[in-house]
């Protein structure tokens, strides 16, 4: 059975079902309780689980730091950071404690915390509400970083994240929250962390994307020349990265374009290209192209469309990869 629902509802469903399944799951964060979160992702959870859904004071460092204590001693914290840019206020708790407790204690303590947070542009949001920092999280050992691109994956990946024994950063693309209704399996639905998906098969070029950029990519290859037969890969989990799926595809197509909304320098495209160089260099018929945000602070919304890669820019990237 599948339901036609939006991504934000799929997220709510995953939380609801995981709370029903596992009494240790605790949902807390700013405005998640009474109001159900500013995007309503935790809507009605408090009514169903009054003792397991909490509004916290406005303190991200506290939210993430509390998760270390809760997580290490029997709870499964699922926190919401209201917008990804405010996770920086608790970044040190993630980097210095949450992600290291397991290795510091030689596996005797762990932090099964999931940190949900909306990220990315495209909704004319305020300053500092549109950043894509997945590369920063991917650089933190001990952390898993997940970015769903569609409603079904959002449910399946979030369910897996909640069940994962280690800290997971779960980045939700705000522009996709309510973009469309999609079929989402009812009841138990998991998508394994660390596995990419080939969402469209093709022979001429591999396009790798994730999160909000996947829809842009699909519309780019959909509207492109009929003779461009692109294979599209949704990375889904950016760390640990499923490079095998990407490498297999590149070995087949010989060409690759990596798309991300984050700034170019030291973005994840650089890591993907390095892995291709390591393991598939001799299959390449052209240099790998990247279509990314620029190395500028994410602009206020009057300029955000100029900043964000769109179908047009992605298509030009594909053309460059094909013409080289």
């Amino acid at each position: 059975m599948a339901n036609e629902i939006r991504m934000v509802e799929a997220i709510q469903q995953a939380l609801d079902e995981e709370m029903a399944r596992d009494e240790s799951v605790l949902v807390y964060g700013e405005d998640v309780g009474v109001s159900g979160g500013v995007f309503r992702a935790t809507k009605e959870l408090r009514e169903s689980y009054p003792d397991r859904v909490y509004d916290t004071p406005l303190a991200e460092s506290a939210i993430l730091g509390l998760g270390v204590g809760l997580g290490a001693t029997g709870y499964t914290p699922v926190t919401e950071i209201q917008f990804a840019s405010f996770a920086y206020q608790g970044f040190h708790q993630l980097v210095q404690h949450a992600t290291r407790l397991r290795s510091r204690t030689r596996g005797t303590l762990g932090v099964p915390m999931t940190v949900r947070t909306p990220y990315g542009g495209g909704i004319r949001a305020l300053e500092l509400h549109s950043e894509s920092f997945e590369a920063g999280y991917a650089h933190v050992p001990g952390l898993k970083t997940v970015v769903p691109s569609n409603a079904a994956d959002a449910k399946g990946l979030l369910t897996s994240a909640v069940r994962d024994p280690d800290p997971v950063m779960f980045l939700e693309p705000t522009s996709r929250y309510r973009a469309s209704r999609e079929a989402v399996p009812e009841g138990e639905h998991t998508v394994p962390l660390g596995e990419a998906e080939v969402v469209r098969e093709g022979a001429d070029v591999t396009v790798v994307a994730w999160g909000a950029m996947l829809a842009e990519t699909l519309s780019a290859v959909g509207r492109g020349d009929a003779d461009v037969d692109a294979e599209v890969i949704d990375l889904r989990t950016v760390s640990p990265m499923d490079s095998e799926t990407v490498l297999d595809s590149v070995r087949k197509t010989g060409r690759c374009v990596v798309v991300h909304e984050a700034p170019r320098t030291a973005g994840l495209a650089a890591e993907i290209i390095a892995r291709i160089n390591d393991d598939a260099l001799y299959y390449l018929e052209a240099p790998v192209e990247r279509v990314t945000g620029y190395d500028v602070p994410f602009p206020l919304f009057a300029r955000e469309d100029a900043y964000r890669p769109d179908a047009e820019r992605i298509r030009r990237g594909i053309e460059r990869a094909l013409s080289a």
Partner: protein, 381 residues
């Protein structure tokens, strides 16, 4: 075993103009008629600008906007106590304070139109701080600089009751105390941090007492009383200029939504809103000025008309500027001197977009992605 009390504290509450608009002469600041009328005009200007801005947002002409309805006295009363050359470090709801500092209205609108032009600085006003509670440290930095330079000036920073839960806010107050920074911390306790009421934010009975742990002075003032706020802030600034920082808690109420994306009906009652409507700062001040013979119906109508005209002109000016947004300028201010990589990226951008020619934000946004997103912004912050 020894047990003795080693510390005790108390917090003062100050009010100059009570709810019935009676003045306490002992507290009231010494202001002339012109200054009093200017306070009134600024408060009306801020209120009307908020109304117009919310309406513009509803028509899709502005982005998310955070109105300060109800907080005009807290802002105008305090900002007018700061000397023009002294730095004001705002949060994101300080429209009234910035107007009191002479900030051009079209700049405020540009910021809400998603244009960096709106955060350009002229005069001693920092740009808005969107991360909650991160900016008090900046004011402490400014104020510490004044101490080092031996200058008798201070900085003033605004933040909300919610912000006081952030570690940075405590760090700012503690460091200010330790380093004799010339800074006044102005907390507008408007009772709500989005859906979280003040009582869920902290168990402390007052925000002002948070100063105690930092070893600085804390005082509470009726934030809907412009004269009380002015008097208290003036004294706090005097103290800060000599190296003794102060935390001022202005007790007020956010009468409107948190931002234009918020719906307060989800988390608070109409009774509560009605209760605070009756304590509206502008109505109270108007009553006082009428009793003093400084205002009558005719003067009030004149001021309303003047305010209306000024805002209309500035909205036109903002819209004109909006038509001239050059997207490629996003590359220009990342570093004082652009790096070679940025120059390369800018050239690539201009090649691909045909020279970064003028587009309005409306023209710039297209595609189903954004249509879907637009709905989200209706729910987001």
């Amino acid at each position: 075993m020894t047990r003795e009390q080693v510390a005790e504290f108390s917090i003062e509450y100050v009010q100059a103009l009570d709810e019935e608009a009676n003045l306490d002469e002992a507290v009231a600041p010494d202001l002339d008629d012109e200054q009093l009328l200017e306070f009134y005009r600024l408060m009306r200007l801020a209120r009307r600008l908020d109304e117009r801005a919310v309406a513009l947002q509803r028509r899709g002409e502005l982005g998310t906007y955070a109105p300060g309805v109800g907080q005009e006295a807290a802002q105008v009363g305090s900002a007018t106590a700061l000397a023009p050359e002294e730095w004001l470090v705002p949060s994101f709801r300080e429209g009234a304070a910035l107007l009191a500092r002479g900030a051009p209205i079209h700049r405020l609108l540009w910021y809400s139109m998603g244009m960096e032009e709106g955060a350009e600085v002229d005069g001693a006003n920092f740009p808005p701080s969107i991360p909650v509670g991160s900016q008090p440290l900046h004011a402490t930095g400014i104020g510490w600089g004044k101490e080092i330079a031996g200058e008798e000036e201070a900085a003033m920073v605004y933040f909300g009751d919610g912000a006081t839960s952030q570690g940075d806010v405590y760090e700012a107050m503690n460091v200010a105390g330790a380093l004799d920074a010339h800074v006044v911390f102005l907390c507008q306790n408007n009772q709500w941090a989005i859906s979280t009421p003040r009582a869920s934010q902290t168990r402390a009975g007052t925000i002002a007492q948070k100063a105690v742990a930092a070893g600085i002075e804390g005082v509470q003032v009726d934030g809907n009383d412009p004269l009380g706020v002015h008097a208290v802030t003036r004294d706090a600034l005097e103290s800060a200029r000599g190296g003794d920082p102060v935390l001022v808690e202005a007790l007020t109420y956010r009468r409107s939504m948190h931002t234009t994306s918020d719906d307060p009906r989800v988390y608070r009652t109409e009774e509560e809103e009605a209760e605070w409507e009756a304590r509206d700062p502008i109505a109270r001040f108007e009553r006082y000025l009428r009793a003093e013979g400084l205002l009558d119906d005719e003067r009030i109508a004149d001021i309303a008309e003047e305010v209306e005209g000024a805002i209309a002109d500035e909205i036109d000016r903002a819209k004109e500027g909006q038509k001239r947004v050059v997207p490629a300028e996003m590359f220009d201010y990342v570093y004082a001197e652009p790096t070679s990589e940025l120059r390369r990226q800018k050239a690539e951008f201009e090649r691909e977009t045909g020279g970064g020619e003028t587009t309005t934000p409306e023209e710039g946004s297209s595609g189903d992605e954004r249509a879907g997103g637009g709905e989200v912004s209706g729910r987001g912050e």
